[in-house]
């Protein structure tokens, strides 16, 4: 019989999510070092959002796919029945289970790293990253682990997710559709067309998490094209909007943790820091979109940073 008081306190769900998010950052940093390049700031900003979705928000079944990702089986066509998507890593499709639609697929490395931390992908899966003939692509495709739709042309995934949500409602399914988006996608007109349609058709079985890191390829978003006030805009479009600290697992999960039947889309704007957990990155501001080390000295700095992060985690 266990004795109260001397057992180590079980880790809280939020602490677990934080631990997974930090592990994701380390893994992405490691691969940015190995490849001398990577979408590192996206890992810093989104790690808690994606970890919270997988660990606390979404109802997903166990992975249906091998730990070692299958090689690319060719593009979809009538002549290629072997083509597949990476959706099986998010579990089977069932009426009561949720679905995950990953929109900013240049975050692929973050998603792969998370899938590894969650044992949905094997620990060596990133050996295939950006390797010719592999599905673990640099910019995720619909055949990449964890991906379900073709989304690299930004803002197209939200509309496809809307169609999936509409189909699920027609079939009377209880599972929800979760979409992960980046804030830059709110510069595209299609995003606003999609929100108009989601609200007009009263689709309450869809929820959208936005990594609002305020960064894009050319630099800070407010130096490229403003999208604020994003919450007010989305409210005006008929969505239920929550603005939260995007690094706080409890705050991230709270809006979704509701038995309320909705008749409008849920949006969680996760305000995030693109350098979170890697203070060193701030030196590179304002250009954070894609990190490539400029000198041996900089590489060595990040290498030792990874070593110290690993030591902290032990």
């Amino acid at each position: 019989m266990a004795q109260a008081g001397i057992q180590p306190r079980a880790q809280s769900p939020a602490a677990h999510i934080r631990g997974v998010a930090d592990a994701v950052r380390r893994r992405v940093l490691e691969h940015t070092l190995n490849n001398n390049g990577g979408y590192l700031s996206q890992a810093c900003s989104s790690a808690e959002i994606l970890a919270t979705l997988y660990l606390s928000v979404m109802r997903l079944g166990p992975s249906q796919e091998p730990l070692d990702p299958r090689p690319f089986a060719g593009v979809p066509s009538s002549a290629n029945p072997g083509a597949f998507t990476g959706a099986g890593y998010n579990g089977t499709k069932a009426p009561e289970l949720d679905r995950f639609i990953f929109s900013p697929v240049h975050y692929a490395l973050v998603l792969y790293s998370l899938l590894i931390e969650l044992d949905r992908l094997g620990p060596d899966a990133l050996d295939d990253f950006n390797r010719d003939g592999s599905t673990v692509e640099l910019i995720g495709a619909e055949h990449s682990p964890g991906h379900e739709v073709t989304a690299g042309s930004l803002a197209q995934a939200i509309s496809q997710a809307g169609g999936i949500a509409l189909a699920r409602r027609m079939r009377g399914e209880t599972g929800r559709v979760w979409v992960f988006m980046s804030d830059g996608e709110f510069q595209e007109g299609q995003t606003w067309e999609a929100f108009a349609a989601l609200a007009y058709h009263r689709l309450g079985n869809i929820g959208i998490y936005v990594d609002a890191n305020a960064q894009q390829c050319d630099g800070p978003m407010d130096a490229v094209m403003g999208i604020e006030p994003l919450a007010e805009r989305l409210c005006a479009f008929g969505a239920e909007v929550h603005e939260v600290d995007g690094h706080d697992p409890v705050a991230l999960a709270a809006p979704a943790d509701s038995a309320i039947e909705r008749d409008r889309p849920l949006v969680v704007i996760a305000r995030t820091d693109p350098c979170r957990g890697l203070e060193q990155l701030r030196e590179r501001a304002p250009k954070l979109h894609y990190v490539r080390f400029k000198s041996d000295a900089e590489f060595a700095t990040y290498r030792s940073l990874l070593d110290s992060l690993r030591a902290e985690a032990c």
Binding site: P76, Q160, A165, A197, Y200, H201
Partner: protein, 336 residues
């Protein structure tokens, strides 16, 4: 006399969809204009108004198709092929999803002017892998194209006709996938026509045959894939040359497809392409524009004369006097 049918798609869609609960219609504020109002009123639970937002509509259609539904997008051809081209390419064509894109007002069939005239739609859809393209030329094509589209595994673009549509072909002979209709056989000159150009071509070929010219004529309704053996055989037999006739730019449409086929097969006869000669059009009546841009029967007569190198004593009055009747396909063994 040739029959014409009022709004054949409108009634056919209602009838055809009755036994197909998986068929949905998506519309972008052109529901009656695309003859989908009957479907909307009959099956309101299967009709979705997506507003004037074609890019999003393509994505919704893709999502619905991934879930096992068959979305039939109804809008003008220009709004399928131009504005949301990226969405059609990435959300629909790449994953080979069974979305049916029903495009109305092909070419110069509208007085709506350059913004409403799809003169490049076949070219744009032809370059998309996985996309198949069908074009209707009469009421029988309109009434049978849905069956053909629905049997296709993947996305289909249909060039549809609306309003008063002539019945050129016997209703007992439906449109067949990747099979041209052989309207006349002939070995001297071969005419390949699509869409509304077929009616004009028939007017000309009938008059030409009365002058003893051995002209063959095929109505093409599948523009992609483009490997119909009927077409290949007919081209191989054409001694003096081939003329294509289409309600589209001569770049990227039927004329281009035929040119590619002839070059690849080494079929070395001349090819003349009737169509919009790399020009935009403007708002005017169909008859006016067909004459202005040389898409009418007289344009075909001129092309034949050019091909055989001798003038043909045919006037517009001669062509106007041609009586058109609903045709049956020529039996391929018939000796002409």
């Amino acid at each position: 006399m040739m029959e014409s049918v009022q709004r054949p798609h409108r009634e056919n869609l209602i009838r055809w969809a009755a036994s197909r609960p998986e068929v949905l219609v998506l519309s972008a504020d052109l529901t009656s204009s695309c003859e989908a109002d009957g479907f909307r009123d009959t099956y309101p639970e299967r009709f979705f108004s997506m507003g004037m937002a074609e890019q999003n509509m393509m994505g919704f259609a893709a999502g619905l198709a991934r879930e096992g539904f068959f979305p039939y997008i109804h809008t003008f051809a220009v709004f399928i092929c131009r504005r949301p081209f990226d969405q059609v390419a990435m959300s629909i064509a790449y994953p080979n999803l069974p979305v049916r894109l029903i495009g109305f007002l092909p070419g110069i069939t509208t007085a709506g002017g350059v913004t409403h005239q799809a003169i490049d739609d076949i070219a744009l859809m032809r370059i998309l892998p996985n996309m198949r393209i069908l074009e209707c030329g009469d009421a029988t094509d309109v009434e049978s194209v849905l069956d053909v589209a629905q049997d296709i595994d993947g996305p289909v673009y249909v060039r549809m006709l609306r309003g008063e549509v002539p019945r050129l072909f016997d209703p007992s002979e439906p449109l067949r996938f990747n099979r041209a209709r052989v309207l006349t056989q002939g070995a001297e000159v071969l005419v390949l026509s699509t869409g509304i150009c077929t009616e004009e071509a028939v007017r000309a070929t009938q008059a030409l045959r009365t002058r003893g010219l051995d002209v063959g004529h095929l109505h093409v309704s599948t523009l992609k894939p483009f490997d119909d053996p009927t077409v290949l055989e007919a081209i191989a037999k054409a001694k003096r040359g081939v003329i294509t006739m289409e309600n589209h730019s001569v770049i990227g449409g039927l004329g281009s497809a035929v040119a590619e086929l002839m070059a690849e097969r080494g079929l070395g006869v001349r090819l003349l392409r009737i169509g919009l000669q790399d020009t935009y059009a403007h708002g005017a009546s169909r008859q006016y524009l067909m004459r202005e841009y040389g898409l009418d029967a007289m344009a075909l007569v001129r092309a034949v004369a050019s091909l055989i190198g001798q003038p043909l004593a045919l006037t517009e009055d001669d062509l106007a006097a041609v009586r058109l009747e609903t045709m049956r396909q020529v039996d391929k063994t018939e000796d002409l």
